[in-house]
């Protein structure tokens, strides 16, 4: 098989990124990994390999706990902001880099307010534009037809799959450049999973996607690039079809064929 390796432009890039939990436990060991702009990159690897840790570095999620320490840089392009620089306000980063978690976590409020929340804290969105922005985000998350007549309902009344799409709409509302998914379908049934995967495939046309998944077939279906991590190190990152048909590294081969992990 021949692979046309025109290097795509990057949206973000970790350079020698190491990360320590509580200042002592090293969870990432000098990771250098670029994330192609407007493509989906899947992070795979056995539990504890550091894939979620890496993902969380990308929007400073680790700052919530004291003692955590970053080394190296994560550049967000095009302006080359160092995401893990403490001088940079994490709120600024999180407006540009959204996140969707394993379990849907809507706020205990209405569907409308869930989506409007990010826009409100960002401020400067006039009331007249808020309705339109909420509708657009819900449309982008393929949820609008199902909720348009019940925007004032409590978000918890939605099904699990709908709640997850609401969380995606909430993340999309602030117009992020990159969206991080941490096992977004592990709590969903196959139909809801398929809808989220469809959505990811659509979104990656205009937003950079990074997805952590334990489901190899999901990684194969939705991603353009796949990075395999093991024990805090990046083992191999390549085009997804290469990783799943003919990986270069023996360890990757063993992992994707289910020989370990």
């Amino acid at each position: 098989m021949t692979y046309v390796d025109t290097k795509p432009a990057l949206k973000a890039e970790a350079q020698k990124l190491s990360f320590y939990y509580g200042g002592t436990v090293q969870a990432l060991k000098s990771i250098s990994l670029g994330l192609p702009d407007r493509h989906a990159t899947a992070l795979i690897g056995p539990s504890g390999c550091g894939k979620t840790t890496y993902l969380r570095c990308l929007n400073r999620m680790h700052d919530l706990y004291p003692g955590n320490r970053y080394e190296g840089v994560v550049l967000l392009y095009p302006d080359e902001v160092n995401i893990v620089d403490h001088a940079i306000d994490p709120i600024e980063i999180r407006l540009r880099v959204g996140m969707v978690f394993q379990k849907p976590n809507p706020f205990p409020t209405s569907i409308y307010e869930n989506v409007a929340y990010g826009l409100r804290i960002r401020g400067a969105v006039p009331r007249s534009e808020l309705d339109g922005a909420v509708e657009q985000a819900l449309r982008d998350a393929a949820l609008w037809p199902e909720v348009k007549d019940r925007l004032r309902d409590l978000a918890f009344n939605l099904s699990g799959g709908q709640q997850q799409r609401l969380c995606i709409a909430r993340a999309l509302a602030t117009g992020p450049e990159m969206l991080l998914f941490d096992e977004p379908t592990s709590a969903l049934d196959p139909t809801a999973t398929a809808r989220i995967e469809e959505l990811v495939t659509e979104l990656k046309q205009r937003i950079t996607i990074v997805i952590v998944t334990h489901n190899m077939q999901q990684a194969a279906r939705v991603s353009d690039y796949t990075a395999f991590m093991y024990e805090g190190e990046l083992v191999e990152c390549d085009r997804t079809e290469k990783i799943f048909t003919n990986p270069s590294n023996k360890l990757t081969e063993e992992y994707v064929t289910g020989r370990f992990g």
Binding site: Q217, F244, T245, E253, T257, R259
Partner: protein, 226 residues
């Protein structure tokens, strides 16, 4: 770690081997029928082609099932898709052995044109290629597979040599044309069987190395050329 899929893959491998052994018998038998002028044997081989066909279907179904249920990846994926294609190649070889037998039955309606020397030689080479290509598959041996690809030229040369010889018969005596053409066909069938063995060998190179060497002219024969 012993995985459930390992047993399934081992079963698939032995399925291919059983089919390969039967196809070898078909080819060998067709040449024996020619040399011994044995119409009964030729008929039996023609009948037995149905068995090869059903094995091809079984292997196909097994591969489809494995792809759907086990979702194999990387080397396992290459193994299953290769097995699926090898099965098709073997089925075509058996069809060609059947074609040889059809010509044998026709040839036996007339006296033998000439002593058969080159055809059995070609058949031996061809069968060796078939055997070695399957051996390469079973042992995941890309070196042996590349050797099989190289051997194909020898069979091609023998085919041309046979054709020139038969042409001289036809020019000298038009009464020999029917028989000479039938023998030319048999030469062509053997040459096609060798081509299918080459295809199998090329598939094995892909399975082992993940490199596609099909449709490359000249065939990529060493690792450092790609």
């Amino acid at each position: 770690m012993q995985r459930h899929i390992d047993q399934e893959l081992a079963d698939l491998k032995s399925q291919i081997l059983r089919m390969g052994a039967l196809v070898e018998e078909q080819i060998q038998g067709s040449i024996k029928a020619l040399v011994d002028r044995d119409v009964d044997l030729a008929s039996r081989i023609i009948e037995r082609d149905a068995l090869v066909n059903s094995m091809d279907v079984d292997i196909d179904e097994n591969c489809m099932r494995l792809l759907a249920l086990q979702a194999p990846a990387a080397r396992d994926l290459r193994f299953v898709t290769t097995a699926m294609k090898i099965s098709t190649e073997l089925e075509r070889m058996s069809d060609l052995a059947e074609n040889i037998c059809e010509r044998v039955i026709e040839l036996n309606e007339e006296p033998q044109l000439k002593p058969y020397i080159d055809i059995p030689r070609m058949a031996n080479w061809t069968m060796q290629m078939v055997r070695e290509s399957l051996d390469a598959f079973v042992r995941s041996n890309a070196v042996l597979a590349r050797k099989v690809c190289a051997d194909d030229d020898f069979v091609d040369n023998l085919t041309h040599q046979l054709f020139r010889e038969l042409l001289s018969f036809m020019i000298e005596n038009p009464g020999t044309i029917t028989r000479a053409i039938r023998l030319t066909f048999i030469g062509k069938y053997l040459e096609r069987i060798a081509d299918h063995a080459t295809n199998v060998a090329e598939l094995v190179v892909y399975m082992v190395e993940g490199k596609i060497v099909r449709h490359t002219t000249p065939p990529v024969l060493s690792d450092n050329e790609t």
